[in-house]
Symmetry: C2
């Protein structure tokens, strides 16, 4: 057992409030008056989530976007964020502030508060708490998938991997791929449109297969994913080809921030999304290629 999963088990023993959703969901949901408040906290660390040569404006954008993506997965309208920031080089700090300003303006979200610390000689550690209000009476969880539901994903997968690989290798990369890694989009409008029709929803942050396995576990159901149906961008297919390996890489690398959701057959989607699998009675993730079963890879995604 990793130290992370061990610690999360300790936290789950403490987090007995139903609002915490067993720490199994993208965000907590609290009823305040007649409103449902959705709240989440994600951290990023230097050397883990970004390299030393990363643009601090991008780091700021990304930490806002990944938090808002958790709100998107609950169909919440974001209200504001609080920032926990470890100070360092003042030029880096100023560029981070500029990126924070960009991202908050883009998503029309307020900076509400926060705190700073100075830790000499240590890697930086930055946390964002994001707060939103639910737009739909019943706020869906990961745990609602039912037998017969179709599994969908928005957009394309693997583009963040492609942007990361190309820029790490010092190659010129299409801006769309670079942005997929450095400046992911939080799919707020998509989440708001989806929540009335979904049975379960979450964002794809750690790799599609890992996140599907979490949804299957939370829903106590089996989910079959057809790798041949996974949506790849033409840019991704040009770089890696369209093979079992390239599809498996796109399905396990993570950092996609697309929305993964389940809906009953016949549900009318509010926009186009790709059907990639089906829920059946059983337990856990199963993968196939156009119907032929495939062994699960050793790593389903990014565990940190």
């Amino acid at each position: 057992m990793t130290s992370e999963s061990n610690f999360i088990q300790l936290m789950q023993a403490i987090a007995t409030s139903p609002d915490a959703r067993g720490l199994m969901d993208d965000a907590a949901v609290i009823t305040i008056g007649h409103q449902s408040l959705v709240i989440t906290h994600d951290m990023m660390a230097q050397g883990v989530h970004w390299s030393d040569d990363a643009n601090p404006r991008d780091v700021a954008w990304k930490i806002v976007a990944v938090n808002l993506s958790d709100l998107a997965a609950k169909g919440a309208r974001p209200i504001g964020v609080l920032l926990g920031f470890s100070l360092g080089d003042s030029q880096w700090d100023a560029a981070f502030a500029a990126g924070l300003s960009d991202a908050l303006a883009h998503y029309n979200v307020a900076l509400l508060g926060g705190d700073t610390v100075s830790i000499t000689g240590s890697n930086r550690c930055i946390g964002i708490t994001a707060l939103g209000v639910a737009t739909h009476t019943s706020v869906p969880a990961r745990s609602g998938a039912r037998d017969g539901d179709i599994v969908y994903v928005t957009g394309t997968l693997g583009d963040a991997k492609a942007g990361f690989d190309l820029s790490s290798a010092g190659k010129i990369a299409p801006i769309a791929l670079l942005n997929a890694f450095n400046r992911p989009a939080a799919l707020i409008a998509e989440g708001i449109a989806l929540v009335p029709i979904v049975s379960a929803i979450m964002d794809v942050s750690d790799g599609l297969l890992l996140d599907v396995s979490r949804m299957a576990e939370a829903s106590a159901i089996a989910i079959d994913i057809d790798l041949s149906a996974i949506p790849l961008s033409s840019e991704y297919a040009v770089i890696y080809g369209d093979t079992l390996d390239s599809r498996m890489a796109a399905a396990t690398w993570g950092d996609d921030y697309q929305l993964l959701f389940c809906a009953p057959p016949g549900a009318v989607l509010p926009f186009a999304a790709t059907a990639i699998g089906r829920c059946t009675i059983g337990f856990g993730l199963r993968v196939n290629l156009s119907g032929s079963p495939i062994e699960l890879p050793a790593k389903l995604g990014f565990e940190h």
Copy 2:
């Protein structure tokens, strides 16, 4: 200008929502439906806020208490917290989890969510976001002090300093002094009782004089503090004596988590607190000893 104050200025330029209170208050106050939500985020870092030989159970208690203290200063009833935690030695992590459980149970507060990161070889950095609901219609700020108001503080000052000094020197210390440093109390009930009668309120976290100067600045008023009136515990006076120096130390060391507040003359306090000064037309902090002016010390408190 320190890197901290520089960064906070950059953040204040972004935090234009009135809910953020110019980042000058203990917490943000957001209206959700007919309720006022109070939210704050405080961080603590290894080597800055706790030493390597600190008990992780105490570290967990303290980071919960200092966040709840910010809610207390708004008269908010706490609901829950989210935790940002950097993983490390698993025994330390488990002891921290036990302390977190203690503190949340003591204050009847839910763990709602959070995130973990692994930063190899770096000092730990832990953040808590605390969420509460206001108990009084108008949520007081630091900025409401008016000409003629009396300035009060709860409890005694300097006990955390005494606990820290004695234990750092390897001496046996009274448990009350050790607890003042290691396990401060968040004055939730006191805050709820005070908010209906105060014009301004905040908690004393960074040193009384520094926090009074912030209240004076936020309120655009002068505040005269009489050092001779500052409440010292008998334990503190036994150790340091009752001198100008010992009073100045108690007024500038910080980590007290008492409530500092202003109320009009004639206001009936809900419990005993010590009158330590008065607000007048003017600007900023002024210190006297039984009426004789005293020069301000170079350091008014702890800046981090």
